[in-house]
């Protein structure tokens, strides 16, 4: 037997044994019969697995299975399903479905043939060594089809199962494709700069530099208050009067600035000294010297602890451990202009914009839509046609004159141009709401009128509740429009303290685009509130649109 085959047998036996152990436990828990047989088989299988050289008497999941490429999984699963279903079908001996078996068989044969004829494709599926080529992709596809075909032809129940299986697999694949960018965004936002690009493949698990706190007696790090900002500054020299010349390290918006520090005003805090490993020792860096060399203080071996050593950077390797670099987030927040209070004002502006826009749009659009839908007045039809026509008007046409208009009003560099127009009803929203309002039976309105309600009252108490789902749609779309709004702020807002998030992010990108960690941290912060809101308001978000009956009308 070749080693591959041995490995395959061992692996399968191991898996089978594991499955049986689980089954035995299940039977025990449910107090069902057959525990003994199950346990017996489990033991036997595991024994077989243990005997194969590939396992050297160890049990457990061979690691190779965990890292098996997706294709390997697919082929293995599909092959197994094929086998089970053919057997099952043969045992049941139901006639008339031979066609299905034949088709599946042909596909299976075709797949195997394709895999075999491809010289590049090592068909060592079970060792996880399947090399992907166009042929093997086609083959795998055929295998999958064969398995599904057999399932579908087996019986009704299996067909349902097959469908569900296919749907789940497809949806999960889709989720990976659609969700991966977000995962990558989050991972990147927690990575150190040195992991951003790596010739040995992408870094998926963030690592951070290990540090130890270190109080440098000669060049202390100070923390204190400077013009209302809490700053952290490292010593770079001394003045003749005993005060220290320091360089600000944090907040990032002031980083690099040098200030004079009197020790009595500031307090000395320990520095985070990076840990490095050299040949036979570990140490932490106490100082970076101007000629590029580093001064170290040894940590291990214990006998040399505390010894000072000077090395050049290529003699030592940084010691790193798996962890999240949250500094990216604090740095991103701190590097926002001081006036914006670490970006809090950006968020406030965006929220203000969103709330006012949604409120204004819902209120005005529904009122206008009501006018167009339920009240007759001369000129209604031509006016409505104008409204429809404006839906096609590109924003670019009115962009410039609107700018002049707002300048004339003195609204430049305020949020006003961004939300005030919302109070005058958007054409699209009016149109949408009108379509709903038109369909409400006349009787409802008449009844309310007969009860003596005025027109506004009828609108408020009778009509609005009827179109709640449509209002939700309008609110949601306005919300997203306001949250995303970019061109408006780009034109109207100049001061950081009046900027909304999206625009601030774009500015940040032009200024700090090179620093991926900080960039992604800021992007995550922009996305998170809206994602959180989405999770809470999922029902309204999706079902509002779905059940509004928007589609199909």
């Amino acid at each position: 037997m070749t080693s591959n085959l041995l490995f395959a047998v061992g692996t399968l036996a191991d898996w089978f044994g594991m499955a049986l152990v689980i089954r035995t436990l299940y039977l025990l828990a449910k107090r069902q019969p057959g525990v003994g047989v199950s346990a017996l088989f489990a033991g036997g299988s595991l024994l077989v697995a243990a005997m194969t050289p590939a396992f050297h008497g160890q049990f457990g999941l061979p690691l190779i299975w965990v890292v098996l490429p997706f294709s390997g999984w697919a082929v293995a699963t599909v092959g197994l399903l094929c086998l089970v279903n053919v057997l099952r079908y043969l045992l049941e001996r139901t006639g008339g479905r031979l066609k299905g078996i034949a088709v599946s068989g042909v596909l299976l044969l075709g797949a195997v043939w394709l895999l075999r004829t491809d010289p590049e494709a090592h068909f060592d599926v079970l060792t996880g060594k399947i090399l992907l080529s166009v042929e093997s992709i086609i083959a795998i596809f055929c295998l999958a089809l064969a398995a599904i075909g057999i399932m579908a032809f087996a019986n009704r129940e299996m067909r349902k199962l097959a469908t569900r299986f296919v749907i789940h697999v497809t949806l999960l694949c889709g989720c990976v494709v659609f969700g991966l960018p977000f995962a990558w965004l989050m991972i990147t936002s927690f990575k150190e700069d040195r992991d951003m690009a790596s010739p040995n493949g992408l870094v998926w698990i963030p690592k951070v530099q290990k540090t130890v706190p270190y109080l440098d007696p000669e060049e202390p790090v100070f923390q204190g208050d400077y013009h209302g900002n809490r700053v952290e500054a490292a010593t770079i020299g001394r003045n003749s009067d005993g005060s220290y010349i320091t360089e600000v390290r944090r907040p990032a918006s002031l980083a690099g600035m040098s200030i004079n520090v009197r020790p009595e005003q500031f307090r000395i805090i320990p520095n985070d000294a990076p840990v490095v490993a050299g040949k036979g020792y570990t140490a932490f860096v106490t100082r970076e010297m101007s000629d590029g060399r580093r001064q170290l203080s040894l940590m291990t071996p214990a006998s040399l602890k505390g010894t000072v050593k000077v090395v050049s950077p290529d003699e030592v390797e940084p010691v790193r451990e798996v962890g999240l670099r949250t500094r990216n987030y604090t740095d991103a927040l701190e590097s926002m202009p001081v006036e914006t209070q670490s970006g809090l004002l950006y968020l406030r502006n965006t929220l203000l914009l969103v709330v006012l826009s949604v409120f204004g749009t819902v209120l005005s659009s529904s009122l206008v839509a009501y006018g167009f839908a339920r009240l007759r007045f001369p000129g209604r039809e031509p006016l409505f046609k104008i409204l429809l026509a404006t839906m096609m008007l590109p924003g670019a046409v009115t962009l410039m004159p609107q700018f002049l208009l707002f300048r004339w009003l003195g609204w430049i560099d305020t949020l006003l141009p961004l939300w005030v127009p919302a109070f005058f009803g958007g054409a699209f929203n009016v149109f949408l709401l009108r379509q709903f309002l038109v369909q409400i039976p006349l009787e409802l309105e008449d009844a309310s009128r007969i009860d003596g309600a005025g027109i506004l009252r009828t609108f408020w108490t009778v009509m609005l509740p009827q179109v709640k789902p449509a209002l939700a749609v309008v609110a949601i779309w306005t919300f997203m429009g306001a949250w995303n709004s970019f061109m408006g702020p780009l034109i109207y807002i100049n001061s950081p303290e009046n900027m909304p998030l999206a625009y601030a992010l774009q500015l940040f990108q032009t200024e700090r685009g090179g620093e991926a960690g900080m960039m992604m941290a800021f992007a995550s912060l922009t996305i998170l509130p809206v994602v959180a809101l989405f999770f809470f308001a999922q029902r309204y978000f999706i079902e509002g649109i779905t059940f509004s009956g928007f589609g199909g009308r």
């Binding site: 790596s198 001369p378 997203m480 032009t510």
Partner: protein, 801 residues
């Protein structure tokens, strides 16, 4: 007016909770260099200024990477909230000055003539000072300067000494002339691995080569554009030859897309043996490749120039380079003129320059880095800085010395009112020629025509008649009164009863917000926009009537760009919209099936649609990085498509043919918003229809084509119409992903809305932008009407409604 302004100011003061700015005079400076490697110096100057002027708070803002975003400055100046001082790239200053957007500094210079700290022309390099002079008036005082030189990797020269000697070349010195450069490059290039010399890598552009060949793009009086001269064409030919050695421009660009920064800078890794770059690249070498054996020399010049033959016989400079840099300028309407002038004086003075460099040096030294001062516009500052910070290593000291010496024989971009346009057109022409899409003279003539037109317009502008703005108001009011008159007639003719009159009054009350909004925010701006489209208008001065010239320009001279822009939009809409529709429908069908965990799936698929466009663009820039060691998509590509069918890695946003597919891919990812509508449509198809069809013996496929699709056709119609309207107006993504002043490689991401924006806010051509906007409107209207007229053949309408 004053009251309103005061209240706005009070409001914004209230909003400013920062203690630093309360009760103080604030001096705001825009365009400050606040990058991690310059922030220390920038803030130190502000600090020193504050110390000299108690009660003043200097507020530094970046607002753009290395250059002031012109649109931001324009809207601020026009909107009446400009900063006090602008740090402005010098070559743009005349653009602004010519439109009266910057204040002439002559009165201040005159007033402080006797002040020893007052800037004097003689104290600065001519190239630095004169670049900010427009029509004999000074509009900016130089701070930093830069110039370009040849960087060559001595180690690689030594390794290849045999090959170089065999080719008859001296391996101990760099090339001095263009023809030598090509010969060196040929020997040192290994295709796909190493490039001897990439003409436009680093920072050379056609500008440098044209200057060297005695071509200055404009006549001395600035009235005529001379982009298309035999000299420029020759320079362009040299660039093309340089690229041909490397296997062509496309191959070189593909090679370049693998370049990285910092330690892996291609010059440090030896991927590029020679490059022309500015003095700003020295600190990078000192920091990331201190052991590199390299040299800096004057950039190679045309052979005749060095030999002093032909037209160069009387030229004093055997070598010459191109210099640029920044100046401090004062925008129109700046709130604290005198204080701003004090800041400009201080910032550009010897003292200011020394403070900035001292702070930056201290910061760099503290980080264990070698500090190399940047070149200054002020001669004395250069000398002093070189004395103080002269690097101990000879190679750095010599390099710096070469850069400083070159300042004396450097040229600068001509001060002109069309600086930005000239720059953009020269880039466009270069790209066209290097891609082999046009002959040098042809491409240059094309660009020259456009620039000349820009010049002519501005020169002739004075002769055009000013049209007062009140005309817009008058037209609006007369149209409004006609409207009211017509409506009044309908009202009278309707002969309403008492009850109907009551209803009609309320109807008008309900509709009133929209009517007011329509008149103020749509109708009136539309009239104004239409009016502007017949004028030449730059917002800074009153509009002048030009009749149909803007539209004529659209259809004739600027046709290529317009076609390109609409072509790009059509490409993205034509592929992107159907692809998005298909993805949306497919996902919606899957999500409409009854399996568990639907809420989870739905959330994940919808997530991309709710993420702000800017955030997702930022994310996708990162995902689409061409380098497979950095960009997720190319990493996956390398291991899948690349490994299976040996497809080369796509350059995405950096490659002409991949830029639009990149955006389409991103669009498909965000197909969730369409998906929700599909899902809504699917859920609203009555079960009974399926049941009835099943009884008739329909199978799954029949059901889909005879029930599902027809019932979904209104949703599809809606999605198609909205999708197309949205795609034609594409702006945000392109703005973020291509950059505010770029349109992707060879204009591959030039879209109508972006082109309009550039014209309006970078070229100051509001009138032209308006005519473009109306063209856009016409196109959208046409497409939509076409859709509606075709719709009755395929959109299924329920007859009951």
């Amino acid at each position: 007016m004053l009251n309103r302004k005061l209240s706005v100011a009070a409001l914004s003061l209230l909003l400013m909770t920062s203690a630093m700015s309360r009760g103080q005079q604030t001096l705001s400076v825009w365009g400050a260099q606040l990058g991690p490697d310059t922030i220390a110096g920038t803030l130190a100057v502000a600090q020193a200024f504050e110390a000299r002027h108690p009660g003043v708070h200097v507020r530094m803002l970046g607002l753009g990477a290395g250059h002031m975003n012109p649109q931001k400055l324009l809207t601020a100046i026009v909107g009446g909230s400009p900063p006090d001082v602008v740090v402005q790239a010098r070559f743009n200053i005349s653009d602004w000055a010519s439109r009266g957007a910057f204040v002439s500094l002559d009165p201040f210079l005159e007033r402080d003539r006797k002040d020893p700290n007052c800037p004097k022309r003689e104290a600065y390099y001519t190239a630095a000072w004169d670049e900010a002079v427009y029509k004999n008036s000074v509009y900016g005082i130089p701070t930093g300067a830069d110039d370009r030189a040849l960087y060559w990797n001595k180690a690689i020269f030594r390794e290849n000494k045999d090959a170089l000697s065999a080719a008859g070349l001296d391996w101990q010195r760099p090339p001095r002339t263009w023809s030598e450069m090509l010969r060196y490059s040929k020997v040192l290039t290994i295709p796909g691995k190493r490039a001897g010399f990439i003409p436009n890598f680093g920072n050379a552009w056609l500008y440098l080569y044209a200057f060297q060949n005695d071509s200055y793009f404009l006549t001395p009086d600035g009235s005529r554009c001379t982009l298309a001269t035999p000299e420029t064409a020759e320079a362009l030919k040299f660039m093309k030859d340089g690229y041909d050695l490397l296997g062509g421009y496309t191959a070189a660009t593909a090679f370049q897309s693998g370049f990285q920064g910092k330690e892996n800078d291609p010059f440090l890794t030896g991927q590029v043996v020679m490059k022309i770059d500015g003095d700003w690249s020295l600190p990078g070498i000192a920091r990331y490749g201190p052991t590199l054996d390299f040299g800096v020399a004057p950039p190679p010049v045309p052979d005749d120039r060095l030999a002093r033959k032909g037209r160069f016989a009387n030229d004093p400079d055997p070598f010459l380079t191109w210099s640029g840099g920044f100046s401090l300028a004062m925008p129109r309407g700046c709130p604290n003129r005198d204080l701003a002038w004090e800041f400009i004086k201080f910032g550009s003075s010897l003292e200011g320059r020394l403070i900035e460099n001292a702070a930056q040096a201290a910061a760099d030294h503290a980080k264990g880095r070698l500090y190399l001062p940047r070149i200054q516009g002020l001669k004395a500052a250069n000398e002093a800085l070189y004395r103080i910070y002269k690097p101990r290593q000879a190679k750095f000291a010599d390099s710096l010395q070469v850069h400083i010496d070159l300042m004396k024989s450097s040229r600068y971009r001509p001060p002109t009112i069309v600086g930005q346009l000239l720059w953009d057109e020269h880039v466009r022409a270069t790209e066209q020629v290097l891609l082999g899409k046009a002959e040098p003279m042809e491409a240059l003539l094309d660009g020259q025509k456009k620039v000349q037109r820009g010049l002519d317009v501005l020169v002739k502008k004075q002769k055009l008649s000013v049209v007062p703005m009140w005309i817009v108001g008058a037209i609006a009011i007369s149209l409004l009164s006609i409207g009211i008159g017509l409506w009044g007639r309908t009202w009278r003719r309707a002969r309403l009863g008492k009850l109907s009159r009551y209803e009609a009054k309320w109807g008008i009350f309900c509709v009133a917000p929209w009517i007011v909004g329509f008149l103020v925010f749509t109708a009136e701006p539309m009239i104004a926009s239409l009016f502007f489209s017949f004028t030449d208008y730059d917002v800074l001065s009153p509009p002048r009537w030009v009749g149909l010239r803007n539209f004529a320009e659209l259809a004739t001279d600027d046709r290529a760009n317009i076609f390109k822009a609409f072509g790009n939009a059509a490409y993205m809409a034509g592929i992107g919209v159907p692809l998005g529709l298909f993805t949306g429908l497919a996902v919606a069908m899957l999500l409409n099936s009854a399996v568990r965990g639907m809420r989870f799936y739905r959330t994940v698929f919808y997530l991309p649609a709710i993420v702000p466009v800017v955030a997702s663009s930022v994310l996708w820039i990162w995902l689409l990085t061409p380098d497979p060691n950095k960009g997720l998509i190319n990493a996956v590509w390398r291991d899948t498509v690349g490994a299976w069918i040996h497809a080369p890695l796509p350059g995405w946003l950096a490659a002409e043919s991949w830029a639009k597919p990149a955006l389409i891919l991103m669009g498909v990812w965000g197909a969730g918003s369409g998906m929700i509508l599909w899902l809504a449509g699917l859920k609203n198809i009555p079960r009974s229809l399926y049941e009835a069809a099943e009884i008739d013996g329909a199978n799954k496929r029949n059901l889909f084509f005879t029930v599902t699709l027809p019932m979904l056709s209104p949703v599809m119609f809606f999605n198609v119409v909205m999708g197309l309207i949205g795609a034609v107006q594409e702006f945000d993504r392109v703005y973020v992903m291509a950059g505010d002043d770029a349109n992707g490689p060879n204009d591959s991401l030039l879209v109508p809305a972006k082109y309009l924006f550039t014209n309006a806010f970078s070229y100051f051509k509001m009138g032209y932008a308006s005519s473009l906007a109306w063209t856009l409107f016409a196109v959208i209207l046409l497409v939509t009407l076409l859709q509606f007229s075709v719709s009755r053949f395929w959109v299924f309408e329920e007859t009951s409604s």
